[in-house]
Symmetry: C2
Subunit: 575 residues, 2 copies
Amino acid sequence: MGKILRINMNDLTVKTEELGEYAGLGGRALTSSIIAKEVPPLCHPLGPNNKLVAAPGLLTGTTAPSSGRCSFGCKSPLTEGIKEGNVGGIVSQKLAHLGYSAVVLEGVPKDDKLRMIHINKDKVEILPADEFKGMGNYQTVTKLAERYGKVGIISIGPAGEQKLSAASIAVNDPDNRPTRHAGRGGQGAVMGSKGIKAIVVDDTEAPGVEIKDRDEFKKWSKVFSDGLLKHPVTGKGLPTYGTPILINIINEAGGLPARNFSNGKFEQATKISGEQLVENCKDRGGKATHICSPGCVIRCSNVYNDKDGNYLTSGFEYETIWAFGANCDISDLDVIARLDRLCDDIGLDTIETGGTIAVAMEGGLLPFGDWDRAIKLLDEDIRNGTPIGKLIGSGAVITGRVLGVTRVPAVKGQNMPAYDPRSIQGIGVTYATSTMGADHTAGYAIATNIMKVGGYVDPLKPEGQVELSRNLQIATAALDSAGLCLFTAFAVLDQPETFEAIYRMLNAQYGLNLTADDVAELGKKVLKIERDFNTRAGFTNKDDRLPEFMYQEPVAPHNQVFMVKDEELDEFWNF
Amino acid sequence: MGKILRINMNDLTVKTEELGEYAGLGGRALTSSIIAKEVPPLCHPLGPNNKLVAAPGLLTGTTAPSSGRCSFGCKSPLTEGIKEGNVGGIVSQKLAHLGYSAVVLEGVPKDDKLRMIHINKDKVEILPADEFKGMGNYQTVTKLAERYGKVGIISIGPAGEQKLSAASIAVNDPDNRPTRHAGRGGQGAVMGSKGIKAIVVDDTEAPGVEIKDRDEFKKWSKVFSDGLLKHPVTGKGLPTYGTPILINIINEAGGLPARNFSNGKFEQATKISGEQLVENCKDRGGKATHICSPGCVIRCSNVYNDKDGNYLTSGFEYETIWAFGANCDISDLDVIARLDRLCDDIGLDTIETGGTIAVAMEGGLLPFGDWDRAIKLLDEDIRNGTPIGKLIGSGAVITGRVLGVTRVPAVKGQNMPAYDPRSIQGIGVTYATSTMGADHTAGYAIATNIMKVGGYVDPLKPEGQVELSRNLQIATAALDSAGLCLFTAFAVLDQPETFEAIYRMLNAQYGLNLTADDVAELGKKVLKIERDFNTRAGFTNKDDRLPEFMYQEPVAPHNQVFMVKDEELDEFWNF
């Protein structure tokens, strides 16, 4: 097992510890365990008692395909509960190669100077970074790569420096672009509160990850890889179209929220579809398929160029296209790509930011469809920290409160992503019950409700959704701890040998004897640790509810409300 | 008993009902009972399922001195819990004279038209009021009095129309000035959400309040009156200086929060003291003593003129002078009076608004002491509904979140009033445990901690504070139900016969046989009804805590933190 690197920003000291009581944990299991044990649940998220943890998964740094995720965890400034968000990019494997299971940022500095952390095999340094003040993530990673070469970079943009609740943490991708974000929950604000602009990780001559039984590992790694390549979603759908393939699929299902969740279909969906995106990529010299992290066989990312063939953005995801597209009534894919680029550069969660602008549109701050003003809100207001910028950067619930909007589609302070829970009831259970607030990745019921992966549960009926979401959330918590991409779940859910490969790889790597049950137990344990933190932070089952309007306002085209009863939602935690 | 008048803004219908299950209740007991029973605890405070209740107290409309309070209640947009705030002025007695125990506003209108309610002995009408859109409370009451004569007026200003969480409900005083406000918790926003600009109450030829035993009532009314006049606080201190007498007293005690609760003393306190205010009133032809409601013998209100002798404001209270003075580092009483006048006119809670500006000062939006900008924030930004105005009008917690401020002195979303709980620990227990959020009036421990009324509990020690606050909160809930001004408590706490007079008057009025125990039981019942609503709305004992910094940052001059332990706070509800 690796070590824990603790960096105290109050006294600017660094120390390395054994994992100790956290032995056997990685990724989300480790971030959530550290936060739950060490952070007072009622502390201010931006104060000295919160911590920010970065943790590679248990398989990260090995040759296991699609295992390069890095979990970030803290008490969230957005939800005020526990938060974990994981991300691809190149940094997680480098941390693992250096032997770090977690990097923990503690305390807040006594001054208002900006600093960066530099980590290599020989030492860890806290260095001045005032020269980067207010700099976007793109320029930051370019300058850092000029100075340090091919390194992994964790960084924040102006939003994180301003400690905005929608601020993300960016990680550079294999092309050294800051396009992979631990977006949700404002973790960038916590990094900003600690005065850290960037963490540079150089794994040159690093020892690498120890594998106890290399032949066994190689065998099961191939099974896992074959499984991913064989499954229609991970082997064909995602590699061809990436996640934007969902625009047409979810629109057809009546679950693509248009204009701040006032319709389940968007008239202009085809203009912003994955098919259109792929066509643009081909016409303009972009890439319709691209890795976000070394060793990924799914390759669902993309590189999107503008009309003149110049790079515009990368990692241009379904949820982002929805957030600024259907949800804001913007149907120009190039405009949405610019908004995505701005979010990546300023360091903002695209889901929260798009959702907030939609709420601001409903609240009359700007008209629906006003993409020009939306771009200015990001590029001028949020980037430069005007009061309106700070407001939008604080997320949908805050913006809705300020503008007097009663229809704010959020749970536990976090805006809902790209699936209407009235048309796809299973994802509504995940939104309601997840320890993270409204988060599709916590238990991606779309798989079973819409894509018929892992069986089928009718999306329009309340029956079976709680059990579905529960099983998915448990499985996801385990995957997030292993460092595996969520998308491996498609193959894992449908193919028993692909699931078996996960614990077989863990056994081979660590010399363990885990069974399928142990994987499920790990997932359950993680969820319960998170739930316990939230309970101590003051959350109750009343927080496991969708907003009032989703129980009262039917949404087209199915004209349904959310029908899973409170008592059924409360059953979620019976495991 | 009176009747309940229900006005449904969804279908614009009016109906009158018997009290039914609410028989025997008045004031806060009635507003809280109606809200707890009829409003879904998880509803949106500005949506169709919230209700706004106005209820005169049980003694209101009689000749009982200082009994003219009107309770307003709803689910609060600021705290998201139950809310009651009561107010003097002339309207409550008129409602009682007309035989109404409560007016309940229900639903929200289907259009965005503004309306008003006109109530007299013959009928209740919903009338168009678009001509009043955006109008300040001063002009509104002037115009309504021109049209309707000497009437009671409940109104909102632009803040309420904008549905801002710091919006108050104004009531006109005997000089027809809108200076008495149900300020806390954003009740003006709920009135605004129902599209009601004003409620005009004309009690001409009204039947008046029935008294079962007039002689007995008269006798105990005199005992009550004599008791108020005899007690040094209600008979001398308040009638001479009004509440601003507290500036020097609380400053001396080290509990006057300066610059967003960063010091317990304000260097410029004498410049904004009650003594200075009285001197200015005398020099300029104002009034240092003045009634807010007919029949009050305490006369703690005032009329404050500017340097040229022109009327500036009235009901210029200690908490307001603190909020914009010490807390914002403004030491010019005339400036503070202008800010008070603006709050009254725009319809804003002075405590929340001053507290929010102090938080905004700490967050760098404007410098401490910048009174010119503070005036513009109110008179231009909030009045005209600019985004910054809407932000400030949403209160300190929201503003603190947007500006990244970690030191936000609030409980349950409501900013603390003018007493530092680290220097006066008893009031900290009230802030923490009150169902209302941080609210000094809920259990005014200052009486016993500082003024040695009702005994003495050392303000600097944690011992005895929970019991003190509990007893005060129970007594206050009963007084608020009777329609008696909180200030009668000073005499009631020290003089057994003054307390006895309360239930004797109730017995004489209603033909009852209440005892002292029944009064306490009523207070307990009210608190538990409110607590139950909050629990169903998702509140837990974790919400019964002060903000983190008050446990960690000692405040001068006593250099103490808040020391009442969590377990002791949890004991509060053991009754």
